[in-house]
């Protein structure tokens, strides 16, 4: 899933909100065909037979956002949402709530700070003007790890970052 937006703190304005989800593809027995990773050999094109490629779906991106301006040179972006794999149990949700504050007090040296909470799966990343200010990698990709993180919801990641310098646009 992706959410993005352009914010101009000095003009107290924002534009071009974007949200998207990628396609989820489900594979059955025999995958990965080459023994290590998915490849063209897994794409048999036969749905619902539980062999090789089996099903595909796309989550509806209906995420939330809010922009505010704490001062004449600050913009604050609040992204939050909850979404599930459309091919799996709908209550195994990925949840996130991230607030990024941009300061352009020194226009040539903007800064960003962040407060966040999210489920411990999957990977999360926040970038400002192309610079990664927060990155999280889950500890594992096993089925039971994902169950723990998305169903029993323990633990939830919370924290804050910055302010740190980000590139000027």
């Amino acid at each position: 899933m992706t959410e993005s937006i352009w914010v101009t703190p000095d003009m107290q304005s924002s534009s071009a909100f974007f949200q998207s989800t990628g396609e989820t593809r489900n594979y059955g027995a025999g995958s990965p065909a080459n023994g290590s990773t998915l490849s063209a050999s897994d794409e048999d094109g036969v749905a619902y037979d539980c062999l090789l490629w089996n099903n595909a779906g796309k989550a509806n991106p209906a995420f939330s956002h809010n922009e505010s301006y704490p001062s004449a040179t600050q913009g604050q972006v609040h992204f939050w949402g909850s979404s599930a794999n459309p091919l799996e149990d709908p209550r195994a949700t990925i949840d996130w709530d991230v607030t990024t504050t941009i300061s352009t007090t020194t226009p040539t040296a903007p800064t960003a700070s962040l407060s966040y909470s999210h489920t411990c799966y999957p990977a999360h990343r926040v970038t400002v003007n192309g610079s990664v200010i927060y990155s999280y990698q889950p500890g594992a990709n096993t089925t039971d790890y994902i169950f723990q993180r998305l169903v029993t919801k323990f633990p939830t990641i919370r924290g804050s970052v910055g302010p740190i310098g980000v590139p000027a646009q």
């Binding site: 509806n60 999360h124 926040v126 970038t127």
Partner: protein, 283 residues
Amino acid sequence: MSTHPAKTVCVLLALTIQMQAQAPATGSREVTSVKQSFEELRLRCTDPSSASAQSGLRRIAEKIRNSSGDDVAAAIPLMIGALRGSENPRLCTLVVLFDVSLRPDSAQLLSSYIGPIGNLLNSPDERFQTTPPIIFLNLKPQPPPEVVPPLLTYLTRTDLDPKAQTSALFALAKIAGDNPEVISGIRGFLARPLDNRVRIDALNALGDSRVRDPHVVAMVTASLDDADQGVRFTAAQTLRRMGENAVRQAEPALQTVIERADESPEVKDAARAALKSIGRTSE
């Protein structure tokens, strides 16, 4: 766009899932039983997110994977008893029972405990309500028929948050999507006043070729006319996932979606993909 590009910033949040092949654990020399490992884990699980509890959960998952059926079976009564304990050890127990459900002999191991596991559906905590459908659906080689009544009773309750009930809908569609009582329960659920998010979850849950009932297909098809774009998009996608018969039944409605002047490109694409699955191409 801004006229002051030097002060414009782009904020991007991206969430990615990367599945990796996991190397099997090797070299374990432990001689403790699954039961002993579970007893140790309960003591550590006063805080399930602690390093100690997480380490214990990894160890018992490996042990459950690699132990004999008899060794796992001997520990299950203790696990079931722990479901009546305090909250955090109970959460750890859910994870351990989930690990058991992943075994190839899980239906045999857990078939005597469908009742106590199903009782979690009566918990006020959504995390506990969500677990039985997932565990029941996992049971191998296939879920026993005894899992259907508790899930169906739960699905048809009207005093619960329908958002949580979509887990049972998902499991029932896959376990017994052609069972007349289940079909009746599904129809009753879809007829309830559901907010857009729950309706989307419910439609996704029904995207399975085992759900063939024409009345259910008709209810999904009716969602192609919903006021919410996300519901319309998901309905078109669900019809494709329900298979050829569902798409053929919905073909006129899908064609109407494609011809709507004010319809979003995403919904039209989903409708086209459904029609393409039965060999129809449309502009």
